[in-house]
Amino acid sequence: MFGFILRRFAVAIPTLLLLIVASFLLMHMAPGGPFTQERALPPQVLANINAKYGLDQPVLVQLWNYLSGVVFRFDFGPSFEYPDRTVNQVIAAGFPVTLTYGMISFVVAVLVGCALGTAAAIRHNTWLDYLAVGISIGAQVLPNFVMAPILVLVFTLILGWLPGGGWSWSDPAFWIMPVIALSTSYMASIARITRASMLEVLSSNHIRTARAKGLPESKVILRHALKPALLPVISYLGPAFVSMITGSVVIDMYFSTGGIGKAFVDSALNRDYAVMMGVTILIGALTILFSLVVDILYAWIDPKIRY
């Protein structure tokens, strides 16, 4: 196992480097630059800015400067869009917000999704099953950019219970709508995967054996069915977790959370190379890390899997 983890890390580093190089080059190939504006800057002004940010050098030199900054000094450079801030500061302002509502959404989605899926499978073809399937299909087809404005309309304007957006670390009322809007569709997917997988497991031989031994139903489900049924869910959860904690531009837009999701999309549109690279590396690293976590969890849940 330890050797496996080491090997995975050894592969992760070149993968990340490749990601950096590829995104860097792609980004520079896109038309326009960070300082392309409606009113073209006079050449002398543009020259000063390019010199300050090192954009006057050949792309490969820029790439090298960037890479060495990241690798040796953990310095992701200054942001072009937010001239008073470094990329590290921009990420430090937005990522904790996204991480918070993302993690809560994840927990909510997993708990509700698994419970719903399991209940539906156990009570297969009853009203409970239909209800659970109905909810999850409904939640799946209702995109969050439709749901977010509806939530604001209902909870802020009509009921007046929750603030319509923004972020506060001291007041969890601000977190509720982003969590609902973000977790719903994930919850729906988790419920559907759990239900399907649970149905399959429940009709398998070892469950029949367990029941034949006369185990109580609760024990059959919790001890013998749940663990194998969760395998496909877990392979879904790895990437889902990363995409939840690195934010959703829709959630950030509609609830103005100041999260990293919007910063990421903005940076691409504004050609803020530095912030865009910083967030890309963050998402890349997290994706690699959590796919490793998923693999380890696999081995833990299914004793047949060995690395």
Partner: protein, 534 residues
């Protein structure tokens, strides 16, 4: 013009020693003087030398004060400067500064603070995107300093003593005073900037000379301003606290206005008539100094057809501006027959025969012009309209596609993202492109300079008479006839089809007073605002 300005400045400085919130007598003020306003996006910087956008300027105008401010009509009124004199050659301005002006940390505001700030904007080391603004002001040596050929110390700005600032220009600049309320010209506190580096703009560290101090800033969430007791006119400042709240979606912004979280928001396109009906006292439109146009590429990279003035004229005539304004936008915009916004101070539009015609007549004329140029059913004209991603631009482009179809012109729509659009505009990689220009100050040349041969002029239209007019305007006593003639040339030559002049459609709480609703620049000052008891 200049004389007029001097007299105005002097008159104002005597008539209105304190131009802060002027509350009519008998007004009962509300107990709570707080104001929450809407921001579409994160405030990128609160450094006057680094800010580049309108919302950032709105914040800076509260945190800092320049030599002049704008009143509710857009006229210049004394800020830190109390008055000025201009030399006979119109090249040297000498400003008298208010001795009682203080920084928020209690330091006096001196002429040196302006000298330092303006040098800093021009200094290549600062790499300010708005260094061009110092060039636009025609301050002596500005371009050479920006280019790095001269030292920032050689910029034509000097402190004669603590409260006297001398500004030397390279060429007479009739609009100079109008540039002095721009955020790029605000003073900064040298001591603080040098001590704190890039971090000086953070709440708690930022020292300004405006009526408010920065007490909180959560990037992309909110920004909080509180009354600055060290401001020279603090006694007449009424609003105690203001919060700019970011709502990235304009429709949600409206919902949050309705839920009471915001006191002012923009109205999403097309919703103004409905809101005007349901909330007549709150739904307000005001002119905004921007013009919308379709630019024709007449450069060598553009299509041959557009080099023919008859074709351009025909295309311009066929655009049904009334439909666009009344049916599509519906937010107080006006049909444009000039490039300069109609509400720009002192601008007089020339008579335009096309404007008086009905759309049917225009269409007939357009068809005739196009036929004359050799285009018709057997030789149809094919054009591509490029626009950047936005629902509104798309609606307009589709409408124009239909208008031009009536002429037998086949239009392909090409939607690209903003940066690509801009890049192509600047490299003449387009045929017809959607464009809008917003004035930097309240004077017609901020629009008209765009079409100079060496202006931004993406379509590369060029006209010697026009260039000469715009050059003459810089030293002319009376610029009105010059700008009028320039607009006549634009109308005759149609380097672009002007479509509409912008307006802001806003929801504003009816107890909020002191917003400059007649100022086409829409520059508002919290210090002039107050809330009345309902």
């Amino acid at each position: 013009m200049t004389k007029f300005l001097i007299t105005t400045a002097l008159a104002l400085s005597f008539a209105l020693p304190a131009v802060a919130a002027s509350v009519p007598e008998g007004t009962k003020l509300a107990d709570k003087q707080e104001y929450n306003f809407w921001l579409l996006d994160a405030i990128k910087s609160t450094d006057p030398a680094k800010n580049t956008d309108v919302e950032g300027s709105d914040i800076l105008r509260q945190l800092f004060e320049g030599l002049y401010n704008e009143d509710d009509k857009g006229a210049m009124v004394p800020g830190v400067a109390t008055d000025y004199t201009l030399s006979d050659d119109k090249l040297t301005y000498t400003f008298k500064l208010r001795p009682e002006a203080k920084w928020s940390n209690g330091d006096p505001v001196t002429a040196n603070d302006f000298v330092y700030a303006w040098r800093r904007v021009a200094d290549p080391a600062t790499a300010s995107e708005y260094a061009w603004f110092i060039e636009l002001m025609n301050i002596e040596n500005a371009t050479a300093v920006v280019k790095g050929e001269k030292k920032p110390e050689e910029l034509g700005v000097k402190a004669l003593d603590d409260h006297t600032l001398e500004v030397k220009l390279s060429t007479p600049t009739p609009y100079l005073i109008k540039t002095l309320a721009h955020a790029s010209t605000f003073p900064v506190n040298q001591k603080v900037v040098e001590a704190e580096g890039d971090a000086w703009t953070q709440p708690g560290k930022l020292v300004g000379n405006g009526a408010y101090v920065l007490t909180g800033h959560n990037l992309g969430v909110d920004i909080t301003l509180e009354k600055n007791d060290n401001y020279w006119d603090a006694a007449n400042t009424i609003i105690t606290k203001a919060k700019g709240i970011t709502v990235n979606d304009i429709n949600i912004g409206l919902t949050r206005y309705q839920s009471g979280e915001l006191d002012r928001v923009d109205i999403p396109a097309g919703q103004y008539p409905r809101l005007k009906e349901s909330n007549p006292e709150e739904a307000i439109t005001t002119p905004l100094a921007c013009s919308y146009a379709y630019i024709f590429n007449v450069s060598d990279k553009g299509p041959e057809a557009l080099k023919d003035v008859r074709v351009r004229k025909a295309l311009s005539l066929a655009v049904n501006r009334d439909v666009i304004v009344d049916k599509v936008l519906q937010g107080g915009q006006k049909p444009a027959w000039t490039w300069t916004h109609w509400a720009i101070e002192g601008f007089e539009a020339p008579e335009n025969a096309d404007e008086a015609k009905t759309q049917e007549q225009r269409l007939e004329e357009a068809k005739a012009l196009l036929a004359e140029a050799g285009y018709g059913p057997d030789n149809p004209l094919n054009l591509t309209i490029q626009y950047n991603t936005s629902e509104d631009h798309k609606k307009l482009a589709v409408a124009v596609q239909q208008f031009w179809k009536q002429l037998g012109v086949n239009v392909t729509l090409n939607n690209v993202e903003w940066k690509v659009h801009t890049d192509r505009l600047q490299n003449q990689d387009f045929e017809v492109a959607r464009y809008a220009w917003c004035g930097d100050f309240n004077e017609a040349s901020t629009f008209l300079d765009w079409f100079r041969t060496d202006g931004y002029n993406s379509g590369k239209w060029s006209n010697a008479e026009y260039d000469k007019l715009m050059a003459d305007a810089k030293t002319a006593e009376d610029t009105k006839p010059i700008y009028k003639r320039a607009e006549e040339i634009l109308a005759a030559e149609a380097p672009a089809a002007f479509v509409y002049h912008y307006a802001n459609a806003d929801m504003i709480r009816k107890d909020v007073k002191g917003l400059p609703l007649d100022n086409v620049m829409n520059d508002w000052y919290l210090k002039d605002m107050y809330r009345v008891a309902e």
